[in-house]
Protein backbone atom coordinates (compact mmCIF):
# COMPACT_ATOMS: atom_id res chain seq x y z
CA UNK A 1 0.00 0.00 0.00
CA UNK A 2 1.23 3.49 -0.79
CA UNK A 3 1.86 6.04 1.95
CA UNK A 4 -1.22 7.97 0.75
CA UNK A 5 -3.45 4.90 0.99
CA UNK A 6 -1.94 3.95 4.29
CA UNK A 7 -2.77 7.35 5.84
CA UNK A 8 -6.32 7.19 4.46
CA UNK A 9 -6.91 3.69 5.80
CA UNK A 10 -5.46 4.34 9.25
CA UNK A 11 -7.26 7.68 9.63
CA UNK A 12 -10.52 5.96 8.73
CA UNK A 13 -9.68 3.21 11.24
CA UNK A 14 -9.35 5.89 13.91
CA UNK A 15 -12.56 7.62 12.84
CA UNK A 16 -14.76 4.58 12.50
CA UNK A 17 -13.39 2.55 15.38
CA UNK A 18 -14.64 4.76 18.20
CA UNK A 19 -17.99 5.38 19.83
CA UNK A 20 -18.17 8.83 18.29
CA UNK A 21 -18.76 7.49 14.80
CA UNK A 22 -21.54 5.24 15.99
CA UNK A 23 -23.15 8.18 17.73
CA UNK A 24 -22.86 10.29 14.57
CA UNK A 25 -24.26 7.42 12.51
CA UNK A 26 -27.17 7.09 14.92
CA UNK A 27 -27.82 10.83 14.57
CA UNK A 28 -27.63 10.62 10.78
CA UNK A 29 -30.19 7.80 10.83
CA UNK A 30 -32.74 9.78 12.85
CA UNK A 31 -34.44 11.45 9.84
CA UNK A 32 -34.82 8.04 8.21
CA UNK A 33 -36.32 6.57 11.39
CA UNK A 34 -38.78 9.46 11.72
CA UNK A 35 -39.53 9.18 8.02
CA UNK A 36 -40.15 5.44 8.31
CA UNK A 37 -42.46 5.78 11.32
CA UNK A 38 -44.42 8.68 9.77
CA UNK A 39 -44.68 6.97 6.40
CA UNK A 40 -45.91 3.69 7.88
CA UNK A 41 -48.30 5.29 10.38
CA UNK A 42 -49.70 8.19 8.39
CA UNK A 43 -49.53 7.09 4.77
CA UNK A 44 -47.68 8.07 1.64
CA UNK A 45 -48.80 11.73 1.39
CA UNK A 46 -47.50 12.55 4.86
CA UNK A 47 -44.36 10.51 4.15
CA UNK A 48 -43.41 12.44 1.05
CA UNK A 49 -44.27 15.78 2.66
CA UNK A 50 -42.13 14.86 5.61
CA UNK A 51 -39.25 13.92 3.32
CA UNK A 52 -39.31 17.33 1.69
CA UNK A 53 -39.94 19.44 4.76
CA UNK A 54 -38.07 17.54 7.46
CA UNK A 55 -35.66 14.83 6.31
CA UNK A 56 -33.89 16.86 3.63
CA UNK A 57 -33.78 19.92 5.89
CA UNK A 58 -32.31 18.14 8.90
CA UNK A 59 -29.91 16.06 6.82
CA UNK A 60 -28.51 18.76 4.58
CA UNK A 61 -28.51 21.75 6.90
CA UNK A 62 -27.58 20.05 10.15
CA UNK A 63 -26.60 16.40 10.29
CA UNK A 64 -24.33 15.92 7.27
CA UNK A 65 -22.55 19.23 7.98
CA UNK A 66 -22.14 18.25 11.64
CA UNK A 67 -20.70 14.85 10.71
CA UNK A 68 -18.33 16.36 8.13
CA UNK A 69 -17.27 19.12 10.53
CA UNK A 70 -16.42 16.49 13.15
CA UNK A 71 -14.38 14.37 10.73
CA UNK A 72 -12.74 17.34 9.00
CA UNK A 73 -11.70 19.00 12.26
CA UNK A 74 -10.43 15.74 13.74
CA UNK A 75 -8.41 14.56 10.74
CA UNK A 76 -5.48 16.53 12.11
CA UNK A 77 -7.08 17.48 15.44
CA UNK A 78 -6.70 13.97 16.80
CA UNK A 79 -3.08 13.76 15.68
CA UNK A 80 -2.40 17.02 17.51
CA UNK A 81 -4.26 16.00 20.66
CA UNK A 82 -2.73 12.52 20.64
CA UNK A 83 0.73 14.04 19.95
CA UNK A 84 1.22 11.75 16.96
CA UNK A 85 1.94 14.49 14.41
CA UNK A 86 5.64 13.60 14.44
CA UNK A 87 4.82 9.99 13.53
CA UNK A 88 3.07 11.25 10.42
CA UNK A 89 5.24 14.13 9.33
CA UNK A 90 8.74 12.69 9.88
CA UNK A 91 8.40 10.44 6.85
CA UNK A 92 9.76 10.61 3.35
CA UNK A 93 6.46 11.84 1.98
CA UNK A 94 5.53 15.38 1.03
CA UNK A 95 3.27 17.43 3.27
CA UNK A 96 0.93 17.87 0.29
CA UNK A 97 0.42 14.11 0.19
CA UNK A 98 -0.35 14.05 3.91
CA UNK A 99 -2.85 16.90 3.52
CA UNK A 100 -4.51 15.20 0.55
CA UNK A 101 -4.73 11.83 2.32
CA UNK A 102 -6.26 13.41 5.41
CA UNK A 103 -8.78 15.31 3.29
CA UNK A 104 -9.78 12.15 1.44
CA UNK A 105 -10.09 10.21 4.72
CA UNK A 106 -12.28 12.90 6.31
CA UNK A 107 -14.40 13.10 3.17
CA UNK A 108 -14.83 9.32 2.89
CA UNK A 109 -15.70 8.98 6.59
CA UNK A 110 -18.22 11.83 6.48
CA UNK A 111 -19.67 10.60 3.18
CA UNK A 112 -20.07 7.12 4.57
CA UNK A 113 -21.83 8.21 7.77
CA UNK A 114 -23.79 11.12 6.21
CA UNK A 115 -24.47 9.14 3.03
CA UNK A 116 -25.89 6.23 5.04
CA UNK A 117 -28.23 8.71 6.70
CA UNK A 118 -29.34 10.02 3.31
CA UNK A 119 -29.71 6.51 1.90
CA UNK A 120 -31.77 5.39 4.87
CA UNK A 121 -34.04 8.43 4.63
CA UNK A 122 -34.55 7.76 0.88
CA UNK A 123 -35.19 4.10 1.64
CA UNK A 124 -37.74 5.05 4.32
CA UNK A 125 -39.43 7.32 1.78
CA UNK A 126 -39.61 4.38 -0.62
CA UNK A 127 -41.08 2.08 2.04
CA UNK A 128 -43.65 4.62 3.22
CA UNK A 129 -44.56 6.32 -0.03
CA UNK A 130 -43.42 4.00 -2.78
CA UNK A 131 -41.10 6.68 -4.17
CA UNK A 132 -37.67 5.17 -4.87
CA UNK A 133 -36.13 7.96 -6.94
CA UNK A 134 -34.34 9.95 -4.24
CA UNK A 135 -31.45 7.61 -3.57
CA UNK A 136 -29.00 9.03 -6.10
CA UNK A 137 -29.90 12.63 -5.26
CA UNK A 138 -29.39 11.95 -1.56
CA UNK A 139 -26.03 10.24 -2.01
CA UNK A 140 -24.66 12.90 -4.40
CA UNK A 141 -25.87 15.73 -2.17
CA UNK A 142 -24.45 14.09 0.96
CA UNK A 143 -21.11 13.37 -0.71
CA UNK A 144 -20.64 16.92 -1.97
CA UNK A 145 -21.80 18.43 1.31
CA UNK A 146 -19.39 16.18 3.18
CA UNK A 147 -16.52 17.22 0.91
CA UNK A 148 -17.14 20.94 1.40
CA UNK A 149 -17.45 20.88 5.20
CA UNK A 150 -14.64 18.38 5.72
CA UNK A 151 -12.35 20.50 3.51
CA UNK A 152 -13.25 23.73 5.32
CA UNK A 153 -12.51 22.25 8.71
CA UNK A 154 -9.29 20.44 7.73
CA UNK A 155 -6.86 23.38 8.18
CA UNK A 156 -8.81 24.64 11.18
CA UNK A 157 -8.21 21.32 12.94
CA UNK A 158 -4.50 21.78 12.32
CA UNK A 159 -4.25 25.19 13.96
CA UNK A 160 -7.08 25.19 16.52
CA UNK A 161 -7.64 23.02 19.57
CA UNK A 162 -11.42 23.24 19.51
CA UNK A 163 -12.04 23.25 15.80
CA UNK A 164 -15.06 20.91 16.06
CA UNK A 165 -16.72 23.24 18.52
CA UNK A 166 -15.89 26.29 16.39
CA UNK A 167 -17.37 24.51 13.36
CA UNK A 168 -20.53 23.54 15.22
CA UNK A 169 -20.99 27.03 16.65
CA UNK A 170 -20.55 28.39 13.13
CA UNK A 171 -23.07 25.90 11.79
CA UNK A 172 -25.65 26.62 14.46
CA UNK A 173 -25.11 30.31 15.08
CA UNK A 174 -24.34 31.55 11.56
CA UNK A 175 -26.00 29.03 9.27
CA UNK A 176 -28.95 27.90 11.34
CA UNK A 177 -29.72 31.22 12.96
CA UNK A 178 -28.13 34.27 11.35
CA UNK A 179 -28.49 33.01 7.78
CA UNK A 180 -32.19 32.50 8.39
CA UNK A 181 -32.57 35.90 10.02
CA UNK A 182 -30.35 37.88 7.64
CA UNK A 183 -30.72 36.33 4.19
CA UNK A 184 -27.45 37.78 2.88
CA UNK A 185 -25.58 35.39 5.16
CA UNK A 186 -27.22 32.42 3.50
CA UNK A 187 -25.43 33.23 0.25
CA UNK A 188 -22.16 32.45 2.00
CA UNK A 189 -23.32 29.21 3.56
CA UNK A 190 -21.46 26.13 2.35
CA UNK A 191 -24.50 23.89 2.90
CA UNK A 192 -25.84 25.35 -0.34
CA UNK A 193 -23.35 23.30 -2.36
CA UNK A 194 -24.85 19.97 -1.24
CA UNK A 195 -28.43 21.18 -1.32
CA UNK A 196 -28.18 22.63 -4.84
CA UNK A 197 -26.81 19.32 -6.17
CA UNK A 198 -29.50 17.45 -4.29
CA UNK A 199 -32.26 19.79 -5.51
CA UNK A 200 -31.11 19.33 -9.10
CA UNK A 201 -31.25 15.54 -8.95
CA UNK A 202 -34.34 15.22 -6.77
CA UNK A 203 -37.64 14.22 -8.35
CA UNK A 204 -39.56 16.39 -5.93
CA UNK A 205 -40.58 19.63 -7.60
CA UNK A 206 -41.03 21.44 -4.31
CA UNK A 207 -37.65 20.60 -2.82
CA UNK A 208 -36.02 23.86 -3.83
CA UNK A 209 -38.97 25.88 -2.58
CA UNK A 210 -38.88 24.06 0.73
CA UNK A 211 -35.17 24.63 1.15
CA UNK A 212 -35.48 28.25 0.09
CA UNK A 213 -38.22 28.92 2.62
CA UNK A 214 -35.90 28.29 5.51
CA UNK A 215 -32.40 28.61 4.13
CA UNK A 216 -32.42 31.30 1.47
CA UNK A 217 -32.06 31.06 -2.29
CA UNK A 218 -30.83 27.72 -3.60
CA UNK A 219 -29.96 27.43 -7.27
CA UNK A 220 -30.31 23.86 -8.51
CA UNK A 221 -27.28 22.55 -10.37
CA UNK A 222 -25.37 19.38 -9.74
CA UNK A 223 -22.53 20.30 -12.13
CA UNK A 224 -21.97 23.74 -10.62
CA UNK A 225 -22.17 22.29 -7.13
CA UNK A 226 -19.58 19.62 -7.96
CA UNK A 227 -17.28 22.25 -9.40
CA UNK A 228 -17.72 24.49 -6.34
CA UNK A 229 -17.04 21.56 -4.01
CA UNK A 230 -13.89 20.63 -5.91
CA UNK A 231 -12.62 24.21 -5.94
CA UNK A 232 -13.25 24.59 -2.19
CA UNK A 233 -11.52 21.24 -1.55
CA UNK A 234 -8.55 22.26 -3.70
CA UNK A 235 -8.15 25.59 -1.92
CA UNK A 236 -8.40 24.01 1.51
CA UNK A 237 -5.93 21.27 0.53
CA UNK A 238 -3.46 23.96 -0.58
CA UNK A 239 -3.92 25.92 2.67
CA UNK A 240 -3.46 22.77 4.74
CA UNK A 241 -0.39 21.65 2.81
CA UNK A 242 1.13 25.08 3.20
CA UNK A 243 0.36 25.14 6.92
CA UNK A 244 1.93 21.70 7.34
CA UNK A 245 5.10 22.91 5.64
CA UNK A 246 5.40 26.20 7.44
CA UNK A 247 3.99 25.77 10.94
CA UNK A 248 5.74 24.31 13.94
CA UNK A 249 3.94 21.02 14.34
CA UNK A 250 4.50 20.46 18.03
Amino acid sequence: MTAFGSIVVNTLRGFLGGRRSWLLLALAMIPGVVQLIAGLVSGSAVGSQLYEEFSTQVLFTLLIPAVAITFGANAFGEEKRGKTMAFLTLRPISRWTIAAAKLVAAWLGASLVGGLGAVFAAFALGVGSGIWTELVAGVVGATLSALVYAALLLPLGLVMKRATLAGLVYLLLIEQFLARTVRQFSNLSPFRVGTSAYADLSQFARVIATLEETNGAVVAGAGGATLKALVIALIMWAITGFALRELDLV
Binding site: M1, T2, A3, L90, R91, R245, L249, V250
Partner: protein, 312 residues
Protein backbone atom coordinates in the same frame (compact mmCIF):
# COMPACT_ATOMS: atom_id res chain seq x y z
CA UNK B 1 41.51 24.34 18.23
CA UNK B 2 38.28 22.66 17.09
CA UNK B 3 35.47 22.88 19.64
CA UNK B 4 34.67 19.56 21.35
CA UNK B 5 31.04 20.28 20.48
CA UNK B 6 31.96 19.57 16.85
CA UNK B 7 32.88 16.20 15.40
CA UNK B 8 35.04 15.70 12.29
CA UNK B 9 32.71 13.34 10.39
CA UNK B 10 29.49 15.23 11.17
CA UNK B 11 26.16 14.03 9.77
CA UNK B 12 24.08 16.61 11.59
CA UNK B 13 25.28 20.19 11.98
CA UNK B 14 23.77 22.82 14.25
CA UNK B 15 25.04 26.26 13.46
CA UNK B 16 24.45 29.16 15.88
CA UNK B 17 20.86 28.08 16.49
CA UNK B 18 18.49 29.89 18.83
CA UNK B 19 14.84 29.17 19.37
CA UNK B 20 12.34 31.16 21.36
CA UNK B 21 8.64 30.79 21.97
CA UNK B 22 7.19 34.22 22.65
CA UNK B 23 9.51 35.73 25.24
CA UNK B 24 10.76 32.35 26.46
CA UNK B 25 14.17 31.37 25.11
CA UNK B 26 14.34 27.59 24.70
CA UNK B 27 17.72 27.35 22.97
CA UNK B 28 20.39 30.02 22.79
CA UNK B 29 23.23 30.18 20.26
CA UNK B 30 23.86 26.46 19.97
CA UNK B 31 26.68 25.29 17.73
CA UNK B 32 27.39 21.58 17.72
CA UNK B 33 27.45 18.56 15.46
CA UNK B 34 26.67 14.87 15.59
CA UNK B 35 28.39 11.96 13.89
CA UNK B 36 28.36 8.15 14.02
CA UNK B 37 28.19 6.69 17.54
CA UNK B 38 25.96 7.56 20.46
CA UNK B 39 25.81 11.17 21.59
CA UNK B 40 24.04 11.76 24.87
CA UNK B 41 22.15 14.99 25.23
CA UNK B 42 22.09 15.68 28.92
CA UNK B 43 20.34 18.28 30.95
CA UNK B 44 17.68 18.85 33.58
CA UNK B 45 14.02 19.16 32.59
CA UNK B 46 13.54 22.46 30.80
CA UNK B 47 17.16 22.67 29.60
CA UNK B 48 16.06 22.78 25.95
CA UNK B 49 16.93 19.21 24.90
CA UNK B 50 13.54 18.37 23.42
CA UNK B 51 13.38 21.62 21.48
CA UNK B 52 16.82 20.93 20.01
CA UNK B 53 15.80 17.39 19.04
CA UNK B 54 12.60 18.68 17.43
CA UNK B 55 14.62 21.15 15.42
CA UNK B 56 17.03 18.40 14.36
CA UNK B 57 14.04 16.41 13.13
CA UNK B 58 12.58 19.42 11.31
CA UNK B 59 9.45 19.48 13.45
CA UNK B 60 10.08 23.03 14.46
CA UNK B 61 12.06 25.79 12.81
CA UNK B 62 14.99 27.59 14.50
CA UNK B 63 14.29 31.26 15.23
CA UNK B 64 17.83 32.04 14.06
CA UNK B 65 20.73 29.93 12.80
CA UNK B 66 20.61 26.81 10.67
CA UNK B 67 20.49 23.04 10.95
CA UNK B 68 21.58 20.60 8.30
CA UNK B 69 21.20 16.84 8.13
CA UNK B 70 23.61 15.37 5.60
CA UNK B 71 23.92 18.86 4.10
CA UNK B 72 20.16 19.42 3.77
CA UNK B 73 17.64 21.41 5.80
CA UNK B 74 15.41 18.80 7.51
CA UNK B 75 12.41 21.02 6.81
CA UNK B 76 11.43 20.81 3.18
CA UNK B 77 13.45 17.66 2.38
CA UNK B 78 11.15 14.77 3.28
CA UNK B 79 13.39 12.28 1.44
CA UNK B 80 15.82 12.65 4.33
CA UNK B 81 13.41 10.75 6.53
CA UNK B 82 14.16 7.53 4.67
CA UNK B 83 17.31 7.66 6.79
CA UNK B 84 15.98 9.17 10.02
CA UNK B 85 14.11 7.53 12.89
CA UNK B 86 12.64 9.50 15.79
CA UNK B 87 11.22 8.46 19.12
CA UNK B 88 9.64 11.62 20.53
CA UNK B 89 9.35 12.24 24.25
CA UNK B 90 5.54 12.08 24.32
CA UNK B 91 3.99 8.77 25.24
CA UNK B 92 1.96 8.90 22.02
CA UNK B 93 0.73 6.00 19.91
CA UNK B 94 -2.45 5.27 17.97
CA UNK B 95 -4.25 3.37 20.69
CA UNK B 96 -6.82 1.90 18.29
CA UNK B 97 -4.08 0.04 16.35
CA UNK B 98 -2.29 -3.16 17.34
CA UNK B 99 1.48 -3.01 17.78
CA UNK B 100 1.89 -4.82 14.45
CA UNK B 101 -0.46 -2.42 12.64
CA UNK B 102 1.33 0.54 14.18
CA UNK B 103 4.82 -0.53 13.16
CA UNK B 104 3.57 -1.66 9.72
CA UNK B 105 1.96 1.77 9.27
CA UNK B 106 5.32 3.38 10.09
CA UNK B 107 7.05 1.09 7.57
CA UNK B 108 4.46 1.84 4.89
CA UNK B 109 4.91 5.58 5.40
CA UNK B 110 8.64 5.12 4.94
CA UNK B 111 8.05 3.43 1.58
CA UNK B 112 9.48 0.00 2.39
CA UNK B 113 8.89 -2.77 -0.15
CA UNK B 114 7.77 -5.29 2.46
CA UNK B 115 6.40 -3.32 5.41
CA UNK B 116 4.88 -6.38 7.11
CA UNK B 117 8.23 -8.18 7.25
CA UNK B 118 10.01 -5.01 8.36
CA UNK B 119 7.45 -4.59 11.15
CA UNK B 120 7.83 -8.22 12.23
CA UNK B 121 11.62 -7.84 12.37
CA UNK B 122 11.46 -4.58 14.32
CA UNK B 123 8.96 -6.01 16.80
CA UNK B 124 11.20 -9.04 17.28
CA UNK B 125 14.15 -6.72 17.93
CA UNK B 126 12.29 -5.11 20.85
CA UNK B 127 10.92 -8.49 22.04
CA UNK B 128 7.30 -7.67 21.33
CA UNK B 129 6.45 -10.46 18.89
CA UNK B 130 4.15 -12.22 21.32
CA UNK B 131 2.13 -9.07 22.06
CA UNK B 132 2.20 -7.76 18.50
CA UNK B 133 -1.49 -8.34 17.84
CA UNK B 134 -2.77 -6.65 20.96
CA UNK B 135 -4.23 -3.13 20.81
CA UNK B 136 -1.77 -0.45 21.91
CA UNK B 137 -4.44 0.96 24.22
CA UNK B 138 -3.95 -2.16 26.37
CA UNK B 139 -0.14 -1.79 26.55
CA UNK B 140 1.85 -0.65 29.56
CA UNK B 141 3.96 2.48 29.28
CA UNK B 142 7.13 0.44 28.77
CA UNK B 143 5.56 -1.70 26.04
CA UNK B 144 4.32 1.40 24.23
CA UNK B 145 7.81 2.82 24.45
CA UNK B 146 9.29 -0.33 22.91
CA UNK B 147 6.65 -0.23 20.16
CA UNK B 148 7.63 3.34 19.39
CA UNK B 149 11.27 2.30 19.22
CA UNK B 150 10.28 -0.53 16.85
CA UNK B 151 8.42 1.96 14.63
CA UNK B 152 11.50 4.21 14.61
CA UNK B 153 13.90 1.43 13.59
CA UNK B 154 11.64 -0.52 11.21
CA UNK B 155 13.18 1.17 8.16
CA UNK B 156 16.72 0.67 9.54
CA UNK B 157 17.61 4.35 9.75
CA UNK B 158 21.22 5.46 9.95
CA UNK B 159 20.24 8.50 12.00
CA UNK B 160 18.23 7.79 15.12
CA UNK B 161 16.95 10.48 17.47
CA UNK B 162 15.59 9.27 20.81
CA UNK B 163 14.06 11.66 23.32
CA UNK B 164 14.09 10.08 26.79
CA UNK B 165 13.86 6.58 25.28
CA UNK B 166 14.09 4.67 28.54
CA UNK B 167 11.13 6.40 30.21
CA UNK B 168 8.71 3.90 31.71
CA UNK B 169 10.81 0.84 30.99
CA UNK B 170 11.72 -1.69 33.66
CA UNK B 171 15.39 -2.57 34.40
CA UNK B 172 15.44 -5.61 32.07
CA UNK B 173 13.85 -3.70 29.16
CA UNK B 174 16.18 -0.81 29.90
CA UNK B 175 19.24 -3.02 29.59
CA UNK B 176 17.92 -4.46 26.31
CA UNK B 177 17.16 -1.05 24.85
CA UNK B 178 20.60 0.20 25.82
CA UNK B 179 22.16 -2.83 24.15
CA UNK B 180 20.03 -2.19 21.05
CA UNK B 181 21.03 1.48 20.89
CA UNK B 182 24.69 0.56 21.29
CA UNK B 183 24.49 -2.10 18.59
CA UNK B 184 22.90 0.36 16.14
CA UNK B 185 25.72 2.78 16.84
CA UNK B 186 28.29 0.00 16.46
CA UNK B 187 26.90 -0.59 12.97
CA UNK B 188 27.68 2.99 12.03
CA UNK B 189 24.44 4.78 12.89
CA UNK B 190 24.37 8.31 14.27
CA UNK B 191 22.35 8.03 17.46
CA UNK B 192 21.31 10.98 19.61
CA UNK B 193 19.82 10.12 22.99
CA UNK B 194 18.44 12.73 25.33
CA UNK B 195 17.98 12.08 28.99
CA UNK B 196 17.90 13.82 32.31
CA UNK B 197 19.01 10.61 34.04
CA UNK B 198 22.79 10.80 34.30
CA UNK B 199 23.33 7.09 34.86
CA UNK B 200 21.47 6.29 31.62
CA UNK B 201 23.58 8.65 29.55
CA UNK B 202 26.73 7.37 31.18
CA UNK B 203 25.82 3.82 30.11
CA UNK B 204 24.71 4.64 26.57
CA UNK B 205 26.78 7.51 25.24
CA UNK B 206 30.33 7.75 23.89
CA UNK B 207 30.09 11.49 23.94
CA UNK B 208 28.02 13.94 25.92
CA UNK B 209 26.54 17.34 25.15
CA UNK B 210 25.39 18.89 28.41
CA UNK B 211 22.76 21.61 28.31
CA UNK B 212 21.53 23.99 30.95
CA UNK B 213 19.09 26.87 30.45
CA UNK B 214 18.97 26.35 26.69
CA UNK B 215 22.72 26.71 26.28
CA UNK B 216 25.44 24.22 25.66
CA UNK B 217 27.26 23.85 28.98
CA UNK B 218 29.86 21.26 28.01
CA UNK B 219 30.80 18.77 25.30
CA UNK B 220 33.08 15.74 24.97
CA UNK B 221 33.50 12.55 26.95
CA UNK B 222 33.03 12.72 30.69
CA UNK B 223 36.76 12.62 31.57
CA UNK B 224 37.57 15.34 29.06
CA UNK B 225 34.80 17.59 30.31
CA UNK B 226 35.99 17.09 33.88
CA UNK B 227 39.57 17.82 32.89
CA UNK B 228 38.42 21.04 31.24
CA UNK B 229 37.08 22.32 34.54
CA UNK B 230 40.40 23.76 35.60
CA UNK B 231 38.84 26.07 38.16
CA UNK B 232 37.46 23.12 40.14
CA UNK B 233 40.06 20.90 41.82
CA UNK B 234 39.67 17.10 41.71
CA UNK B 235 38.69 15.41 44.93
CA UNK B 236 40.55 12.15 45.64
CA UNK B 237 39.74 9.75 48.44
CA UNK B 238 42.82 7.94 49.82
CA UNK B 239 43.07 5.07 52.32
CA UNK B 240 46.44 4.18 53.81
CA UNK B 241 47.84 2.36 56.83
CA UNK B 242 49.33 5.62 58.17
CA UNK B 243 46.98 8.44 57.21
CA UNK B 244 48.61 11.03 59.47
CA UNK B 245 52.08 10.27 58.16
CA UNK B 246 50.90 10.52 54.56
CA UNK B 247 48.95 13.68 55.37
CA UNK B 248 52.09 15.34 56.78
CA UNK B 249 53.90 14.54 53.55
CA UNK B 250 51.14 15.88 51.32
CA UNK B 251 50.52 19.17 53.16
CA UNK B 252 52.64 21.69 51.39
CA UNK B 253 53.13 19.50 48.29
CA UNK B 254 52.89 21.78 45.21
CA UNK B 255 50.22 19.55 43.51
CA UNK B 256 47.92 19.47 46.56
CA UNK B 257 45.51 22.32 47.30
CA UNK B 258 43.86 20.87 50.41
CA UNK B 259 44.04 17.86 52.73
CA UNK B 260 41.24 16.65 55.03
CA UNK B 261 42.00 13.70 57.30
CA UNK B 262 39.23 11.64 58.87
CA UNK B 263 39.31 8.58 61.11
CA UNK B 264 39.79 6.00 58.38
CA UNK B 265 40.38 7.93 55.18
CA UNK B 266 41.71 11.15 53.74
CA UNK B 267 40.27 13.44 51.05
CA UNK B 268 42.69 15.63 49.13
CA UNK B 269 42.13 18.18 46.38
CA UNK B 270 44.45 18.62 43.42
CA UNK B 271 44.45 20.56 40.18
CA UNK B 272 46.56 17.98 38.33
CA UNK B 273 45.25 14.51 38.86
CA UNK B 274 47.64 12.96 36.31
CA UNK B 275 50.81 14.37 37.93
CA UNK B 276 49.62 13.41 41.40
CA UNK B 277 48.96 9.88 40.18
CA UNK B 278 52.56 9.71 38.97
CA UNK B 279 54.16 11.30 42.06
CA UNK B 280 52.18 9.67 44.86
CA UNK B 281 53.58 6.10 44.63
CA UNK B 282 57.14 7.40 44.94
CA UNK B 283 56.21 9.53 47.96
CA UNK B 284 54.51 6.59 49.64
CA UNK B 285 57.48 4.26 49.08
CA UNK B 286 59.93 6.88 50.36
CA UNK B 287 57.94 7.37 53.57
CA UNK B 288 57.04 3.69 54.07
CA UNK B 289 53.28 4.28 53.91
CA UNK B 290 51.11 1.63 52.23
CA UNK B 291 48.29 3.19 50.17
CA UNK B 292 45.24 0.87 49.91
CA UNK B 293 42.87 3.11 47.95
CA UNK B 294 43.26 6.03 45.49
CA UNK B 295 39.82 6.97 44.18
CA UNK B 296 38.95 10.18 42.27
CA UNK B 297 35.56 11.26 43.72
CA UNK B 298 34.13 13.52 41.07
CA UNK B 299 34.85 11.84 37.76
CA UNK B 300 31.29 10.57 37.39
CA UNK B 301 28.84 12.24 35.07
CA UNK B 302 26.71 13.10 38.06
CA UNK B 303 29.51 14.99 39.74
CA UNK B 304 30.53 16.70 36.52
CA UNK B 305 26.97 17.72 35.78
CA UNK B 306 26.57 18.97 39.33
CA UNK B 307 29.48 21.36 38.74
CA UNK B 308 28.03 22.47 35.40
CA UNK B 309 24.65 23.06 36.90
CA UNK B 310 26.11 25.17 39.73
CA UNK B 311 27.74 27.50 37.18
CA UNK B 312 24.31 28.56 35.85
Amino acid sequence: MTSPALVPNAIIEVNDVSKWFGDKVANSKLTCSFGPGVTGLLGPNGAGKTTLLRMLAGLTQPSTGSISVDGLDPRGHPKLFERVGLVPEEDAVYEFLTARQYVTYAAQLTGLADPSQAAADALATVQLTESADRKLGEFSKGMKQRTRVAAAIAHRPDILILDEPLNGTDPVQRARLIALIRSLAANGATVIVSSHVLAEVERIADRVLAMTNGRLAAAGNVEAIRAAMIDIPYKVRIDADDLRGLGALLIGHPLITSVAIGNSEMVIETNDLGALGRDLPGLAIDSGVRITRFQPEDMSLEAVFGYLDKRR
